[in-house]
Symmetry: C2
Subunit: 379 residues, 2 copies
């Protein structure tokens, strides 16, 4: 990372290829970081190579939607002690549907980002440091028994995380309870605060599976504004690309399906390691948020065992009688069965902002492309 680098979601592309909301988000990130004073200057600097674009995944990060990281943004630091690797994720912007990562940048977005940076992050950082670090896996395991699937629902996980921070937060409150209360409010406002921790944790798990010779297991899935792509363990860091995903969405009031647009997304790292859409049976209340009903959610969850290498030894679903979630997507099983990975995602609108949530299916083409490359490499 450098002062003039902007990270964004999905397989990296030359600047000219970014369109719509993802393009707007990149420009917004540049303005937010103060690297340019207006959009034209930002574009000129991108064209001149004075500002560098890069992919989150190549910097041990994962991006929510457009996935904009700028140099000054605070990040969670999550370590996988078993594999001795680390991943990062920046913080949730808050429940206002207009967010930088949803392709919007204006004074309101800027104020909310500054609130996160100046008010929320320092409190959480101080509390986490006081505790010496919070083990995430116990929280995530428990949250799965409390209605979260740790992608589009993280309500319980946020409260469990808060509980771990409580002694530290209480000791910090002696010098200003209002500041702590505001940070706590931001942590527990809606279902997305903890997602960033879930994403970073999932990234450390997935990264630990990278570069295993002959492994046909998916180690990353990502959107950019032009399509969907996957990485496969035995095929290094090449992205195998396909078209955008297909979606079944429930939209917020006042929005229509023709507004749905793609502007990137890497939160599906959670699905990559057996959470989110791969743990839908754990989160029946998700139907209220992204549509559908519970029996198809269970059926869909069960179907995913057909395309995974195994069952997660840690992430167990009580509604499946404590079976481990389907984990480790095998590209050949996807191609042979035609069963496509299910993912729970937020839906962006043409004019920016979140307009709903839904269930998407990865496109078959990525898996076919990866399978062909695998056959060629390991023939």
């Amino acid at each position: 990372m450098t002062r003039t680098t902007i990270l964004t979601s999905g397989p990296p592309m030359p600047w000219e290829k970014y369109t719509g909301g993802q393009r707007n988000a990149i420009l917004g990130g540049i303005l937010f970081e103060g690297l340019a004073s207006n959009r034209d200057e930002a574009i000129a600097k991108l064209q001149a190579g004075e500002i560098t674009l890069a992919g989150c995944h190549d910097h041990a990060c994962v991006g929510s939607l457009a996935g904009i990281y700028t140099a000054s943004m605070p990040v969670f630091v999550v370590t996988n002690k078993a594999a001795d690797n680390t991943a990062f994720c920046n913080m949730y912007e808050g429940s206002n549907p207009r967010r930088l990562n949803y392709g919007v940048y204006d004074d309101g977005v800027r104020d909310r980002l500054m609130f996160v940076q100046n008010e929320v992050a320092p409190v959480i950082a101080e509390a986490v440091r006081k505790t010496g670090g919070i083990p995430l896996k116990p929280i995530m395991k428990r949250a799965l028994t409390m209605g979260d699937e740790l992608h589009s629902r993280n309500v319980a996980a946020a409260l469990l995380f808060l509980r771990e921070l409580m002694p530290a937060l209480l000791s910090m409150a002696t010098t200003g309870p209002g500041r702590i209360a505001r940070a706590v409010q931001a942590m527990t406002d809606d279902q997305y605060f903890f997602l960033r921790l879930s994403m970073a944790a999932a990234k450390t798990t997935a990264d630990a599976a990278r570069n295993v010779e002959r492994s046909s297991i998916v180690t990353a899935m990502a959107f950019n504004c032009r399509g969907f792509a996957i990485r496969v363990s035995g095929l290094g860091d090449t992205w195998y690309e396909g078209p955008s995903a297909t979606v079944q969405a429930k939209l917020f009031e006042g929005h229509t399906e023709d507004e749905i647009t793609w502007m990137g997304g890497e939160s599906i790292i959670t699905e990559t390691i057996g959470l989110g859409g791969f743990a839908q049976a754990a989160a029946p209340a998700l139907q209220n948020y992204q549509g559908g009903s519970y029996e198809p959610m269970i059926a869909r969850n069960r179907e995913l065992y057909r395309i995974t290498f195994g069952e997660n030894p840690d992430y167990l679903v009580a509604a499946l009688d404590y079976r481990g979630t389907p984990t480790g997507i095998d590209i050949f099983k996807v191609v042979e069965s035609g069963v496509l990975p299910t993912m729970d995602i937020g839906i962006a609108g043409r004019d920016g902002g979140q307009i709903g949530a839904g269930i998407v299916r990865a496109p078959l083409a990525c898996f076919e492309a990866a399978a062909a490359a695998y056959r060629e490499r390991y023939a």
Copy 2:
């Protein structure tokens, strides 16, 4: 309530009739309150009428297991604003299986009760007063989407309650964070802290349905050490009695079925208003605590619609596609269908203490007795 009154669970009986753990719990309550200096003196005072026994339900209280209330015990005060009535519940003793309400009284039990009285209750009381009172129904509704059924699982509800108290707790922390941290720990230690609030809330709901002319709806269910009993709205405050319930339990390690004993219990007020066993489908993780598996839990939950008057307009279960829980047990539907109310309860052991948890079925005899009395009264 008077200084020399001891409340206990179930239809009240003369002192001589109390046996086993419930008898020990009553004596323990007397010693805890300092009304006698030893068991013999306590027994003598009970026999002389210097100490009065009464039923929790007749004092707008509900008892957990043996349900001992003494005059100095702090209580939650829960008001049903719609019906303008109030109920009370004393506080959870903590996760140690040896508790007064499970028929044990020794120095450890006393110390833990004093900790609740001197350390936990004052902090919660001050915080609740600062907030002006915490609306419980939104917490309970939400907890049902987070894996609680609000009887044997209240994990989410406790965290949601904590969240409501956060601003107050943080402001109180300025004068001593350790004291607040200890109370928070007690609130979030296990699944039972919030049960006392759920019970008091359920009692206010059930009491609002009392004494409705011709109503055949159950308004209370309770155990004492000798059996099970129900009250019916159109039949006043008479208890209709039957034998003890039948149980399917999962016992803590080292315990066996022959140890299972009955020493009272009124937490099943939650089932009376459509929670607990009537909301099992909301709490798949309960199988880990009380045995069974999820499909039978859902089937059992669905079966209970056959014996209830209606569906709860507030308590909705996501796993049942947001159907309201079966609510308002009709004695005639029970008698005609033979479907018996299901209840999630803690299991007491012969030598005192909690030895497990399980699912119990109310005995048919109570409903038959109530149905006969109803026919006589309204013939």
